[in-house]
């Protein structure tokens, strides 16, 4: 068996088991998905604002944008830092470190399995949005769907890499998730989750461009609703950030392992 085939078999086993575990926690997953429905609230607020004020968006366009934000946000949700933190603090990371496969693949499998189970819930939420705002109903073109899938995958990769990089701080502090909270605040503000970025002051939009955040939500959402986006530039930036974060994470991983004490185990 080739090395790649052996890895694929191991990852497939991780994925199947993660799927079984996720279905066991389906009620919890539903609650998690519902807790991420801020875009539905913002959709109502901004659609009303678009109806009454002067905006470059019509109420239907605004509603459509937030439906797309909801979808992208749900499909790129990452929680690896909490899982990793719990494992470091409780010492259960020790078992993962002694298996001949990098622990990251277990976290990736857990996220992918969760995404498969979450997908019907996300479609249900999108359906709810369309029921609330029938004018927002849209059918993306096949090319938009294909590009959205790629953009969501790239966005997920960068978000995962970013959070996993922050997770390495668990080797130095027991509450790395609190530090990551700062990054999350920037993410919420600069990703286009609160409002389309072209409504921000130009200097904020420029500032956001220097971070990965607009490419994580705003860009995939615009691709989904068929708005013009600098595709090559966006994927280039996402690839750059992914490479930078993965290299940084690997460096911090080896630094952290030297500090790891396997406490509690």
């Amino acid at each position: 068996m080739t090395r790649m085939r052996r890895f694929c078999r191991a990852f497939a086993a991780e994925l199947v088991t993660a799927f079984a575990l996720t279905t066991t926690y389906r009620a919890e997953l539903l609650l998690w998905a519902l807790s991420g429905t801020l875009p539905i609230i913002l959709m109502g607020v901004w659609s009303e604002a678009a109806r009454t004020g002067e905006m470059p968006y019509s109420p239907a366009e605004m509603a459509r944008y937030f439906v797309a934000v909801l979808f992208v946000r749900q499909m790129t949700f990452v929680w690896v830092i909490w899982e990793f933190e719990e494992q470091v603090v409780s010492g259960t990371l020790s078992h993962a470190l002694l298996r001949p496969i990098d622990p990251v693949w277990n976290y990736v499998a857990n996220h992918l399995a969760e995404r498969i189970v979450r997908l019907p819930i996300v479609f249900g939420l999108v359906g709810l949005c369309f029921a609330l705002y029938p004018s927002a109903i849209f059918v993306p073109s096949p090319s938009a769907i294909a590009l959205t899938i790629l953009a969501v995958l790239a966005s997920f990769t960068v978000r995962f890499a970013l959070q996993y990089t922050f997770a390495m701080m668990c080797f130095a502090t027991e509450r790395a998730s609190s530090v990551e909270g700062l990054s999350f605040a920037a993410f919420v503000f600069l990703s286009g989750m609160l409002a389309p970025l072209d409504l921000y002051p130009s200097w904020v939009a420029t500032l956001a461009g220097w971070t990965p955040f607009p490419y994580l939500i705003y860009v995939p959402a615009r691709i989904l609703i068929g708005e013009p986006v600098a595709i090559w530039h966006s994927f280039g930036v996402l690839t750059g950030w992914a490479v930078l974060l993965i290299v940084t994470q690997r460096c911090l991983w080896w630094w952290g392992l030297n500090r790891y004490t396997g406490m509690g185990a």
């Binding site: 052996r6 078999r9 086993a13 010492g91 020790s94 078992h95 002694l98 298996r99 001949p100 185990a265």
Partner: protein, 342 residues
Amino acid sequence: MSRPQPDYKTPGMMLRAEHLTKTYRVAAKEPGVVGALRHLVRRTYREVQAVRDVSFSVEAGEFVGFVGANGAGKTTTLKMLSGLIRPSEGTVSVSGQDPFRRQKAFLRQITLVMGQKQQLIWDLPAQDSLRINAAVYEIDPPEAKRRIGELAEMLEVSSLLKQPVRKLSLGERMKCELLAALLHRPQILFLDEPTLGLDINAQEAIRNFLRQYNQTFAATVLLTSHYMADITALCSRVLLIHEGQLIYDGALADIVQRFAPYRELEIRLAEPRTSEELETFGEVANLDGLSVRLIVDRSKVRDAVVRVFEELKPTDLYVKEPAIERIIGPLLKGQGLGPSDG
């Protein structure tokens, strides 16, 4: 600074630790609000040497007991041997490899079982965890199925593998943990309190299984346990660790010679005697009617026996080595080994 390289080439040598030391940096924080505020402004740390200059080697197929009180350094040593943590000083070689590099070839050869930590997925049947382990350790499905069947039969858990782990009793869970930990048929087993909290029957079952595994696969086993029955039943050799230092490395039977320079005289008296009368022969450890147990210095045993026969006219008399448990017991309680402390 380069570290001295241990000799990995000794035939049959499976594990070697040389001058192994581990120092932890621990935050020193005073209790209360003032302590918390002070710690916030100016953090202070102290260094704790969990393991100090420990050297030993283990040959392939040996079953070695690692004994010491809580905090003596047993688990820290096991973590260094298994590659979980890097030694502060010294070198360690397991099967000719540096454990901390955690190369796949090394990881496939070892397993670490921790009685207090489980690797099985809590909410799924053990079978699911076994499927992952089989794939991760690159065991072909038919071979994995055969091994699971074989180990499950040895451990008597065949009917339990499809139940969620959370529904299993502690003993059943530990058996399944062992199954998962041994599925890849490791040659080196680090077992940290594998019988912790189990009832006597479950302890016995685990012991029998470990003995069988060691004999069947010629596996090298390093076992820590607070239950002396585990050590006496399984280990011919013992490492005693006290406050991070190795104070004894040798045969279990020789511990008595080294740490107990006394014998026990069990006497059945012909007529009742008082403690005061008996104390002229040795230390009275127990007096119950006509039965008495005396502790006598090894060098004075011969004289004491002669005097007992002459003066007490006993109906029965046995000279015994003290039980291992009675010698190691104080060590497990963190009291050291008294005047014989090596």
